[in-house]
C-alpha cells in the first residue's frame, strides 16, 4: 500500500472514531445511565459477538467477496458445540469441534467461490440456507442446554474486571490485525481484493488465499458461536438470524469498501462499537424498537455516503 493510501485509511479510521466519540458524548448528555463503568463494560460485552463475526467479514470484504452465511454457520457451530458439551465432552474438546464446524462451512464457501466460480453472494446465500437447515435438522428445532458450570466462565468470568468475552474479542482483533497488516497472507488479501487479475499475474496463489479467507470467516463465526452459547447458556438452531447484516454494517461503517481492496480491522471494531453503543443508548432512552431500526439504518447509510463522497475523484 502506498503511503498516501495508508494515510487516507488512517484518516478514515480517525473520522469513524470521532463519530463514535460524538455518539458517546451525545448519549452521556441524554441519559445519566450511559457513562458508567458498568454500562460501558455492558456495551462492550454486548458488542463482542458481532465484533468477532465482523473480523471474518472484513477479511472477506477486503478480498472482494461477501459472506451471507455467518449467522447460519454460527447457529450450526453453536448446536454442535452445545451437543458436545451436553453429552459430557470437556470444553477443550467441544470448542474446537464448534470451530471446526464453522471452518468446514467456510471452506465449502471458499471452494464454491474459487473452484466452482460462483459469485460469493450466491455461494454464501446457498450456505446460509444449508447450514441453517442442518442446524435445525440436527436439533429437531429445539434449543440445547445443560452444560457443566465451568463453561459459563466464558460469559460470566472477569479478567481484571474486564468480562471474558471482551478479552476474547480483543485477542481475536489483535491477532487478526497482525495477520492482515504484517504477514504475506494479509498483503495478498488486499491484493486479491484490489485487482485479482493483477494479483494472479504477479504470482499470488489467488484461489488458495480466497478459499482461506472464507474458511477464516467460518472460524470467526464459530468463535462467536462459543461466546453466544456461553452467554445464553444454551444454543438455538435459530440463533444468529440476520447477524450477517450486522457484521456487514459494522464493516462498512468502519470504512471497508464493498468493492474490495481496502479497509482496516480497527475501523471494523469502531463500526461494531458504534452499532453496539447505538443499540444500548436507544434502549437506555426507552426508544421503541421500530425507531431503533430507522436510526441504525440511517447511520449505515450516512457512513457509506460519507465514505463514497470522500473517494470521488477530485478530492
Amino acid at each position: 500500500m502506498t503511503l498516501a493510501a495508508r494515510l487516507a485509511q488512517r484518516g478514515r479510521e480517525v473520522g469513524t472514531l470521532l463519530g463514535l466519540v460524538a455518539l458517546c458524548l451525545l448519549l452521556s448528555a441524554l441519559s445519566p445511565h450511559f457513562l458508567t463503568v458498568s454500562n460501558l463494560l455492558n456495551v462492550m460485552e454486548q458488542t463482542s459477538i458481532n465484533a468477532v463475526i465482523a473480523v471474518g467479514m472484513t477479511y472477506v470484504i477486503i478480498s472482494g467477496g461477501i459472506d451471507l452465511s455467518v449467522g447460519s454457520l454460527l447457529a450450526l457451530a453453536g448446536v454442535l458445540l452445545a451437543s458436545g458439551l451436553a453429552s459430557g465432552l470437556p470444553p477443550a474438546v467441544a470448542i474446537p469441534l464448534g470451530l471446526l464446524a464453522g471452518a468446514a462451512g467456510g471452506l465449502a464457501n471458499g471452494l464454491l467461490v474459487t473452484w466452482g466460480r460462483l459469485p460469493p453472494f450466491i455461494a454464501t446465500l446457498g450456505m446460509m440456507s444449508v447450514a441453517r437447515g442442518a442446524a435445525l435438522l440436527y436439533t429437531e428445532g429445539r434449543p440445547i442446554s445443560g452444560f457443566e458450570p465451568g463453561f459459563r466462565v466464558l460469559a460470566t468470568g472477569r479478567l481484571l474486571l474486564v468480562p471474558v468475552p471482551v478479552v476474547a474479542a480483543a485477542v481475536v482483533y489483535l491477532v487478526a490485525h497482525f495477520v492482515l497488516t504484517r504477514t504475506r497472507f494479509g498483503r495478498y488479501v488486499y491484493a486479491i481484493g484490489g485487482n485479482p487479475e493483477a494479483a494472479r499475474l504477479s504470482g499470488v496463489p489467488v484461489r488458495f488465499h480466497q478459499t482461506m479467507v472464507y474458511a477464516l470467516s467460518g472460524v470467526t463465526s464459530g468463535l462467536a458461536a462459543v461466546l453466544l452459547t456461553a452467554r445464553l447458556n444454551s444454543a438455538q438452531p435459530i440463533a444468529g438470524i440476520m447477524y450477517e447484516l450486522d457484521a456487514i454494517a459494522a464493516t462498512v461503517i468502519g470504512g471497508t469498501s464493498l468493492m474490495g481492496g481496502s479497509g482496516t480491522l480497527g475501523g471494523t471494531l469502531i463500526g461494531a462499537l458504534i452499532m453496539g453503543v447505538l443499540r444500548n443508548g436507544l434502549n437506555l432512552l426507552g426508544i421503541s424498537s421500530f425507531l431503533q431500526q430507522i436510526v441504525i439504518g440511517c447511520v449505515i447509510i450516512v457512513a457509506v455516503l460519507v465514505d463514497s463522497a470522500l473517494k470521488r475523484p477530485g478530492r
Binding site: G11, R12, G15, T16, L18, G19, A22, L23, L26, L30, S31, H33, T36, N39, N42, E45, Q46, I49, E140, G141, R142, P143, S145, G146, P149, R152, A155, T156, L228, R231, L232, N233, S234, Q236, I238, A239, I241, M242, L278, R279, N280, L282, N283, L284, L285, G286, I287, S288, S289, F290, L291, Q292, I294, V295, C298, V299, V302, A303, V306, L310
Partner: protein, 317 residues
C-alpha cells in the same frame, strides 16, 4: 478533512430524531419504574398485553417502560434489552421470554441486581432455572395445556368422535406450543375414532401454515380436521383448504382468537379458536410487580382465563 465534521452532523441528526420521540412515558417524581420486556411489538397479542400493562401502571402509580426486540426469536437481543434496563435502574422486571432456556442467564442478572422478576405468558425452563439458581417471583399466563385440552375436547364433540386430524405445531421447544399440543393430544386420546395422521411445524407463521397444510393435504387427501397451535397457522390452513376446493369439509381449530380468526369463525371457515386474554396478563403482571415493590406477596402462579370461541359465542367476545 471534512469527514469528522460530517460524522458529527450525522450524529446531531440522530440526536434530532431521538429528541422528537422518546418512548418513555413522562416520569413522575417518586414513582418506581417497572419494565415490561415483550417478545415483539409487531403482533396484536403483545400490543394488547402492552395496553393492559399501561392501564395497570396508571392505576398502581408506577412508571412503565415497555421494550421489545426487533425479532421475536432473537433471545440475545432480548437479553441485551434486559441488561440495559438493569443499567437504567428499573425497580422490577416483567418479561415474556423469547426462549424458555436461553433467557435464564439474563434473568439471573436481574436477580443479582436485586430486581424482582415477573414472568409472563411463557414459562422459563424449570431445569435450566434450577441449575442457574434463578429465582422468579411470579408467573402470569394462560394455562396452555388446558387451552389445548378444550380445543381437543371440542374437536371430539363436533366431529362425533370420528376424525382424521392433522396438527400444525409451533416452533419446537417453545413451551407455549408444546403445552397446547400436549393438552390437545391428551384430550383426543380417549376418542379412538380420532386419529392424528400428521403433525408438522409451521413455525407460528401464516404463509408456512398455508404451504405445510397444502402439502399435508397432498399426502392425506382424506383429512377432515386440523388443529393449529396458533391462529396464524390456522388461517394459513384455511387458505390452503380453499385453494384445494375443500372449504367446509375440513374442520379448523386455532388458538389465540385473533381478529382474522374471529372473522373466519363468523364466515364458517374456522370452527373455533381458543381465546387468551393478553391484556389481562399485562394487567396482572404490572400489578404483581407493583405489589412486590410495596413488600406485598402476590400469588406466585397466576392463571389467566381462557375460553373457546365458536360461532355461537362470538358476539360475546
Amino acid at each position: 478533512m471534512r469527514f469528522p465534521g460530517r460524522m458529527v452532523l450525522a450524529v446531531l441528526g440522530v440526536a434530532g430524531l431521538l429528541g422528537c420521540q422518546r418512548g418513555e412515558a413522562p416520569r413522575e417524581a417518586g414513582r418506581p419504574r417497572v419494565a415490561l420486556v415483550l417478545k415483539t411489538l409487531n403482533s396484536p397479542f403483545f400490543i394488547d398485553m402492552q395496553r393492559g400493562a399501561q392501564a395497570a401502571a396508571a392505576n398502581m402509580k408506577v412508571d412503565l417502560v415497555v421494550q421489545a426486540a426487533e425479532r421475536e426469536v432473537d433471545v440475545e437481543k432480548q437479553m441485551q434489552i434486559i441488561e440495559n434496563l438493569i443499567q437504567t435502574g428499573v425497580k422490577a422486571l416483567c418479561v415474556t421470554p423469547s426462549g424458555s432456556k436461553e433467557i435464564v442467564p439474563a434473568l439471573v442478572k436481574a436477580n443479582h441486581a436485586g430486581i424482582p422478576v415477573v414472568v409472563v405468558d411463557t414459562r422459563v425452563d424449570p431445569k435450566a432455572a434450577a441449575e442457574a439458581g434463578l429465582k422468579t417471583d411470579v408467573f402470569v399466563g394462560s394455562d396452555n395445556y388446558e387451552g389445548g385440552r378444550i380445543a381437543g375436547a371440542h374437536l371430539v364433540a363436533i366431529t362425533g368422535g370420528r376424525a382424521r386430524v392433522a396438527v400444525l405445531e409451533g416452533i419446537p421447544g417453545h413451551e407455549t406450543g408444546d403445552s397446547r399440543l400436549k393438552g390437545f393430544k391428551d384430550a383426543v386420546k380417549d376418542a379412538p375414532g380420532v386419529r392424528i395422521l400428521a403433525s408438522q411445524t409451521a413455525n407460528w407463521e401464516r404463509d408456512q401454515g398455508f404451504t405445510v397444510f397444502q402439502n399435508l393435504l397432498q399426502a392425506h387427501p382424506d383429512l377432515d380436521a386440523v388443529f393449529a397451535c396458533n391462529d396464524m397457522m390456522a388461517l394459513g390452513a384455511v387458505e390452503a383448504i380453499a385453494a384445494a376446493g375443500r372449504t367446509g369439509k375440513v374442520t379448523v381449530i386455532g388458538f389465540d382468537a385473533v381478529e382474522d380468526a374471529r372473522k373466519a369463525i363468523a364466515a364458517g371457515a374456522m370452527a373455533a379458536s381458543v381465546a387468551q386474554f393478553p391484556s389481562e396478563m399485562g394487567r396482572l403482571a404490572v400489578e404483581s410487580a407493583a405489589k412486590l415493590l410495596r413488600g406485598e406477596k402476590p400469588p406466585a402462579d397466576q392463571r389467566v382465563r381462557i375460553e373457546l370461541v365458536t360461532k355461537d359465542n362470538l358476539a360475546a367476545h
